[in-house]
């Protein structure tokens, strides 16, 4: 009796199990894109371009960490781009009066505070994440213009460049930061009580609450992290450019959401991983980089990227329905 009450379906073979993991299939896609681009452009696989790719992944990669947390709970954060812009201006203004470390701390705290407001409105008052973060997106951008006086802040101390241009063990500090951040986020989501609660909230909030999990706190936390990471990301941007522009971060939310979704997360929550998101980020950056190398006009790049994302997900949907059958 024990066996026939256990199973409805036969267990999958090990190979099938691996193929069933979306991240694995997306990793294959990333490799295909890399090989394709290296055939199209001989420059693509050079050492300097690879460092260039990693460097370009940092800003979007950091934002995508917070976005992964939010999407895992079944939410969405459209405000990251404008929060990045606003906190960038806050950082630029703070740097006029304060040393680097407290200035960055203020900017990151401001990002987290904005996330706390969004998360509370969404979780406690039951407003739709899409609408709340859309509103915050408009407010954030508008405040960025007002605080900056509509002009870029360009007298950023040169010392900020150390954040990006220091090499540790031969790896640029910003790339190292990205990799450590992904490792930490992965460990938190996999081993910490909070991480598992975030998955449970996105998968079945009612069951999670009935099992005694603190669903309110862990539904708000991802928005706080998302806002804070937007500020961290813009800090790296500003360190490279030595300028804070109120327009910074424009459209960043779309790149971040696309990266998370390409990485296999479900917009309904409960499914997704840091590894998948990292691959998603690389896919996005590689496509952009490859199109630049091939000299595709920037005006055509949006069309190309949009088409590739949709095609990738369409193929994925068709393949996955075949595998899981």
């Amino acid at each position: 009796m024990a066996t026939n009450t256990l199973d409805r379906r036969a267990p999958a073979s090990p190979i099938k199990k691996i193929a069933q993991r979306l991240e694995v299939r997306m990793l294959l896609l990333a490799l295909v894109i890399a090989i394709g681009l290296s055939l199209l452009s001989p420059y693509f696989l050079t050492k300097s371009n690879i460092f260039n790719l990693l460097d370009q992944s940092v800003v979007i990669g950091i934002v995508a960490v917070g976005m992964t947390f939010v999407i895992l709970t079944g939410g969405i954060d459209l405000s990251v781009g404008s929060v990045a812009g606003l906190t960038g201006i806050i950082l630029g203004l703070s740097l006029q009066h304060l040393p680097i470390v407290p200035a960055i701390a203020i900017a990151v705290a401001a990002g987290g505070f904005i996330g706390l407001i969004s998360g509370t409105l969404i979780t406690v008052f039951g407003l739709a994440p899409f609408v709340v973060t859309l509103g915050v997106m408009a407010i954030g951008r508008s405040l960025a213009y007002i605080f900056s006086g509509q002009t870029a802040i360009s007298n950023i101390p040169m010392a900020m460049q150390d954040i990006v241009y220091t090499n540790i063990l031969g790896i640029p500090s910003n790339v190292l930061f990205l990799l450590v951040l992904y490792l930490a986020a992965w460990a938190y989501l996999t081993y910490a009580k909070g991480g598992r609660t975030i998955y449970a909230v996105g998968s079945n909030k009612e069951a999670a609450r009935a099992a005694g999990l603190n669903t309110t706190f862990y539904a708000i936390l991802p928005y706080v992290l998302s806002g804070a990471f937007a500020a961290v990301a813009i800090t790296f941007s500003i360190s490279q450019l030595l300028s804070a522009d109120p327009l910074m971060g424009n459209g960043m939310e779309l790149d971040a959401i696309a990266a998370v979704v390409i990485g296999g997360a479900s917009l309904f929550g409960g499914r997704g991983s840091m590894f998948g998101t990292l691959i998603g980020v690389f896919i996005m950056v590689m496509i952009r980089n490859g199109l630049n190398l091939m000299g595709v006009s920037p005006f055509w790049q949006g069309t190309a990227i949009g088409t590739i994302i949709i095609l990738a997900l369409l193929v994925e949907r068709l393949v996955s329905s075949r595998i899981s059958r």
Binding site: T5, A192, K193, Y199, A200, N204, R209, A210
Partner: protein
């Protein structure tokens, strides 16, 4: 439509709808297995049955929500095949459900004529308004609906009226009312019955699906009873039936077979009280619930669908806000703020719906098993390893190989195994009290037995169990004691050895009259210093519906829910004679007046009795009798 009417043989009783041998199976459950039903023009036909008997399924087959598997359905003498509710509506069959088919943001008028909105061409609002007014006038409700209001602003009774008007807007001839009085006040229900009577008089055929026996007697002409998906009483005249006849047909047990349960779990339990609930309320579903459960005891909570059982246990566990009363766990008051508080205080809860309330589909089997641990755990990491030993032990009991823990989804397991894993989720925490809401719902018969064994085993280890179940057989077989709920109140609390399915059904039936009856019994008993009761009498047996004892010396020898041979009570003489005077018992202990209670339509609502001491002047029997009659007349 008028042209092809079948030749009318009996002008008065032409059958409107005939269903023969209807079967319908969902997944593995056979909801209907050969149901027959016949409805005439100009009648109100009661459709009755216990929980899960197939009433709703049959209603939905007739109204086109479900397609039947086999069987014949004929309407006005023509065989019909319904593929959708639109098919049914087109030929004139409509179902009035609880607010489900209305669009809250459209106006009353637009909702009544919703089918017209789907037609091509322009809408003539003034013509629609005129037709809507005619329909309401025909129902005698000319001015009770504001046509221009959005439906969301209406009361439930008004919404129901919109549903009825909508059905008449497409000229429906057959209307099905599925538990229409569930959310109505007594006055509103009265008005609904008035509307139903008018529809009957204008030649419509009405099906009235209800748990409420008093209403069935008040409004229906004929009654059909379903049991386990079959018709067991086919279209009997309501006037020829008694409450006991209906209950017997619904339950299927032989009346008079008062069997003593001789099982080990009938012995008295003197362990400490683990959980006590006092006058709990959580509006609107839970009004006044009190019970207590001891360590090692299995307490069943019985009642019909909609009695407020799930809401009660959710309010205890902190999933639902309370509006009054208190919950005491292990001698300490338990707050209502969140499940986490309840869990840390030693309570566990297996919710009713596995898929939406218990299983987290994207977590592995292991994490689902450890979910309550995660909720109760204080610390940054998960600390799954700390429970490893206990997990192994539980898996052994469940008969599940350890490697299956790594499975990525619970959903590949059978319903029974899923349920065992959910129960094990709570056992890991070693709770003092475990509440289970419908623990065998969607579980196949074979696995049920092993779940029962598991629950008995848990109780034997000293855990207090509270089991909510709609399956009365399961409730009686599993529980040491049963608390019956009806309309959000506890109506009885008895050892299961003293109950059978029949008396349980009687106690669970929602009674509009129960509140007022209890008030009256209380007043009578107090005013005269005696004891009062309300009971059904049949042959030489009594089933007590309610008893109020203000003087312990005058205890009649039975409590609410108990069934007794007349000779086994303490007032056999009065019950045997049933005279309209006070009858003294031969032992001289008391004298008792027993008065029949009759509904306005002449139906037996049972007997009301008042026992008084013999050493005092007695009140005039007529004044008490008229008091009872006055109350019965307003029911």
């Amino acid at each position: 439509m008028q042209s092809n009417l079948a030749p009318v043989a009996e002008a008065e009783f032409s059958p409107l709808l005939v269903a023969k041998g209807i079967t319908k199976t969902f997944d593995r459950t056979r909801a209907l297995q050969g149901a027959d039903f016949e409805l005439r023009e100009g009648e109100i036909h009661g459709l009755l049955g216990a929980n899960g008997a197939g009433k709703s399924t049959l209603s939905k087959v007739i109204s086109g929500h479900y397609t039947l598997d086999s069987g014949d359905l004929s309407y006005r003498g023509h065989e019909i095949r319904l593929r959708s509710t639109r098919d049914a509506l087109r030929i004139g069959i409509a179902i009035v459900m609880q607010e489900t088919s209305l669009v809250p943001d459209l106006t009353v008028l637009e909702n009544i004529f919703l089918p017209e909105l789907g037609r091509p061409g322009r809408l003539d609002y003034s013509r629609l308004r005129q037709r809507g007014q005619e329909i309401l006038n025909d129902l005698g409700q000319g001015d009770s609906l504001p046509f221009d209001w959005e439906v969301r602003r209406l009361s439930s009774a008004q919404k129901q009226l919109v549903e009825i008007a909508k059905a008449l807007g497409v000229r429906a001839k057959l209307l099905i009312f599925d538990e229409p009085t569930a959310s109505l006040s007594p006055g509103e229900a009265e008005r609904l019955f008035d509307i139903m009577a008018r529809l009957r008089d204008t030649g419509h055929g009405l099906v009235f699906v209800s748990h409420r026996l008093e209403e069935v007697f008040a409004i229906t002409d004929r009654v059909t009873v379903l049991r386990e998906g079959r018709t067991v009483m086919n279209a009997r005249e309501t006037a020829s039936l008694s409450q006991a006849d209906l209950i017997r047909a619904m339950v299927g047990a032989e009346l008079g077979a008062i069997y003593e349960r001789k099982e080990s779990h009938t012995q008295q339990n003197h362990a400490a009280v683990a959980l006590e609930v006092r006058n709990l309320s959580s509006t609107p579903a839970v009004r006044d619930v009190s019970f207590a459960v001891r360590k090692g005891e299995i307490l069943g909570i019985g009642g019909l669908v909609g009695a407020g059982r799930s809401e009660t246990v959710e309010a205890i566990f902190g999933l639902r806000p309370r509006s009054g009363g208190e919950v005491i766990l292990n001698g300490k008051k338990l707050g209502a703020d969140s499940p986490k508080t309840a869990i840390r205080a030693g309570l566990g809860f297996v919710a009713e719906d596995r898929r939406t309330q218990n299983i987290v589909p994207d977590l592995s089997v292991k994490e689902n098993l450890l979910l309550a641990h995660l909720g109760a755990h204080r610390g940054f990491f998960c600390s799954y390893a700390s429970r490893e030993k206990k997990v192994k032990e539980l898996l052994g009991k469940l008969g599940m190989p350890e490697e299956r823990l790594a499975d990525s989804s619970m959903l590949n397991f059978s319903g029974g195994m899923q349920q065992k894993i959910i129960i094990a989720r709570w056992l890991l925490l070693e709770p003092n009290v475990l509440i289970l809401d419908e623990p065998t719902k969607g579980v196949d018969i074979g696995t049920r037995a092993s779940i029962y064994a598991m629950l008995r085993d848990i109780a034997a280890q000293g855990v207090a169990l509270v089991v909510v179940s709609s399956d009365f057989e399961e409730l009686l077989g599993l529980s040491d004691r049963v608390v019956v709920m009806s309309d959000g109140r506890t109506t009885a609390d008895l050892p299961s050895a003293m109950l059978d399915e029949e008396s349980l059904t009687l106690l669970a039936a929602p009674r509009t009259s129960m509140v007022r009856n209890t008030e009256m019994l209380n007043e009578l008993a107090r005013a005269h210093g005696g004891s009062g009761f309300w009971a059904l009498l049949e042959h030489d047996r009594l089933i007590c519906l309610n008893a109020v004892v203000s003087n312990p010396a005058l205890d009649p020898g039975f409590k609410a829910g108990e069934a007794r041979e007349l000779s086994a009570t303490r007032i056999p003489e009065a019950l045997r004679l049933r005279e309209p005077i006070f009858v003294p018992e031969p032992d001289g202990s008391r004298t008792t007046l027993v008065v029949p209670m009759t509904s306005p339509r002449g139906h037996d609502l049972g007997w009301v009795g008042l026992s008084l001491p013999t050493d005092r002047p007695l009140p005039a029997p007529e004044t008490i009798k008229s008091r009872i009659d006055t109350m019965a007349a307003t029911l």
